[in-house]
């Protein structure tokens, strides 16, 4: 029977939640890396037992962790043991150095600081790890300050795809409240050279040549908080989602506004429709219905919690504009949590499961595409990210 493995990154460690296909009885393990912030964990589509984790701390910086047994044991890639005396140490798996080579030195621009002045790029942490769809050893990392890195050796060493920062608009990128993070990495299963990424607050970008060159894809976005609301860059994109069977169709939760593109991001249309508020962070697409989309409306950018204290998921079966409230099993009152941008996930079982985690430490599951919900766990630390693996 199929199983699911939910990977929850929290503010104080990682938790792994496993259940069979009914998704009723759950086994919880953790905290792994207790006391550290786990921004993201994700398993390799090639080998589901290979899981990458971003472990980070304001005190001790970035650590990359890797498991090859489904999360039971972990090690820093290449640093599994203490080296023998005199032995060459492994490459540092937590070294993210911005590309300063003469050929691509133009990538080392500055970006816009909160006060509008220019500020140098400074590595802070890895927000998102995206394992390759085809290569067990390849994995991408979206980092703060915004850049995209790739490892070809299972996370032992990292190289920046510096064409992203080097394409020219970098000086206009600026940090959002959470920092200037590259938080979304989407690999096109039909075209290995096409990658989408998103940055707060710069916008969405696409490469069609495997990451050498990039273009902003923000036409149609409108953001009142920047001097030119329709500027090429500067938009606070919170998350982007794609259905793998329709890689040219993208859904976006922007700071405000839910957006849709039918041409690989070249043009965007607002599809907020009847949502009670179109501020939010997460967005995801049903595993088997490419026009079924989920969001969690949040009251506003000043009040990061659900409207009226009622936690609600909204589902559109029409690719946007027409949204229905999903409330069965979710808190009816006094709920003032947030759902952060990487904290929603979808499984691939026939009855598609939807998951999300809250800053209040709950991880919710719906085993029926959103019709009914229950909490797998109630009292974890604040949930930063949720991913799910469907295991055969």
């Amino acid at each position: 029977m199929s199983r699911v493995r939910v990977l929850a990154g929290t503010k104080k460690g990682a938790f792994i939640l496993e259940a069979d296909g009914k998704r009723e009885n759950w086994e919880v393990s953790g905290p792994h890396f207790a006391g550290w912030e786990i921004y993201h964990m994700k398993g390799s589509p090639v080998d589901p037992n290979r899981i990458y984790a971003s472990q980070t701390s304001s005190w001790f910086g970035q650590v990359i962790q890797r498991s090859d047994d489904g999360g039971k044991t972990w090690a820093t890639p290449g640093g599994e043991g203490v080296p023998a005396p005199g032995a060459m140490p492994p490459p540092p798996s937590n070294k993210f150095t911005y590309d300063a080579s003469p050929e691509t030195g133009k990538a080392l621009t500055t970006h816009q600081w909160y006060d509008g002045t220019q500020h140098p790029w400074e590595f802070k942490r890895v927000w998102h790890l995206e394992p390759s769809l085809t290569d067990r050893e390849a994995v991408f990392a979206g980092v703060e300050d915004a850049a995209l890195f790739k490892s070809a050796d299972g996370g032992q060493s990292w190289q920046e795809l510096s064409g992203l920062r080097g394409h020219g608009t970098g000086p206009h990128w600026q940090p959002g409240a959470g920092g200037m993070c590259l938080h979304t990495v989407i690999l096109d299963p039909s075209n290995p050279d096409r990658i989408y990424i998103a940055i707060s607050a710069a916008g969405a970008f696409r490469t069609d040549d495997g990451g050498q060159t990039w273009k902003p894809i923000n036409k149609g976005l409108y953001s009142k908080y920047i001097p030119d609301p329709s500027a090429e860059v500067g938009h606070c994109v919170h998350h982007v989602a794609m259905h793998p069977n329709r890689p040219g169709v993208l859904f976006m939760q922007k700071h405000w506004h839910v957006m849709r593109s039918d041409d690989a991001g070249d043009n965007w249309t607002k599809v907020s429709g009847n949502l009670p508020t179109d501020f939010g962070f997460v967005i995801d697409v049903h595993a088997h219905e490419p026009e079924t989309v989920y969001v969690v409306p949040i009251k506003s950018d000043s009040e990061h919690y659900p409207l009226d204290g009622k936690l609600r998921v909204y589902r559109s079966r029409t690719g946007g504009n027409e949204w229905e409230e999903l409330a069965n099993g979710l808190p009816e009152k006094d709920c003032y949590v947030n759902v952060l941008r990487d904290a929603m996930a979808i499984d691939n079982l026939d009855d598609c499961g939807v998951y999300f985690g809250t800053t209040g430490g709950q991880v919710y599951v719906s085993p029926d595409g959103g019709d009914t919900w229950s909490a797998i766990v109630h009292d974890l630390p604040a949930v930063l990210s949720v991913e799910v693996q469907t295991l055969k």
């Binding site: 890396f33 140490p89 540092p92 070294k95």
Partner: protein
């Protein structure tokens, strides 16, 4: 032997014990101790000092013999009791955060 104590989270990360003993040739400096520590526990590289600049991470301090050595030159000799192994070098995380 040089005695070094590191914060709890770095002990968990490295698998090191409460006190680490390092055999280092003179002169005994902060840089020499950190180099030896990172060579023995590669997973600690980048967690105490920056990979590129080798600057101390802002929320960490270096104490020994009742003194704060955090702002001393990394190439200055450490106090004799540290060099002789009588006193440990303490790497301390800031007491802060939620």
């Amino acid at each position: 032997m040089i005695r070094v104590e590191i914060p709890y989270h770095l002990r968990k990360l490295s698998g090191a014990g409460t006190e680490i003993l390092l055999d280092i040739a003179a002169p005994i400096t902060l840089r020499a101790v950190l180099d030896a520590l990172e060579a023995r526990y590669p997973m600690l590289r980048g967690t105490i000092r920056d990979h590129v600049t080798l600057e101390r991470r802002p929320f960490l301090r270096f104490f020994a013999c009742g003194q704060d050595l955090s702002h001393d030159s990394p190439d200055a000799p450490l106090p004799e009791p540290v060099a002789s192994g009588t006193e440990p070098l303490l790497i301390i995380g800031a007491i802060a955060g939620g």
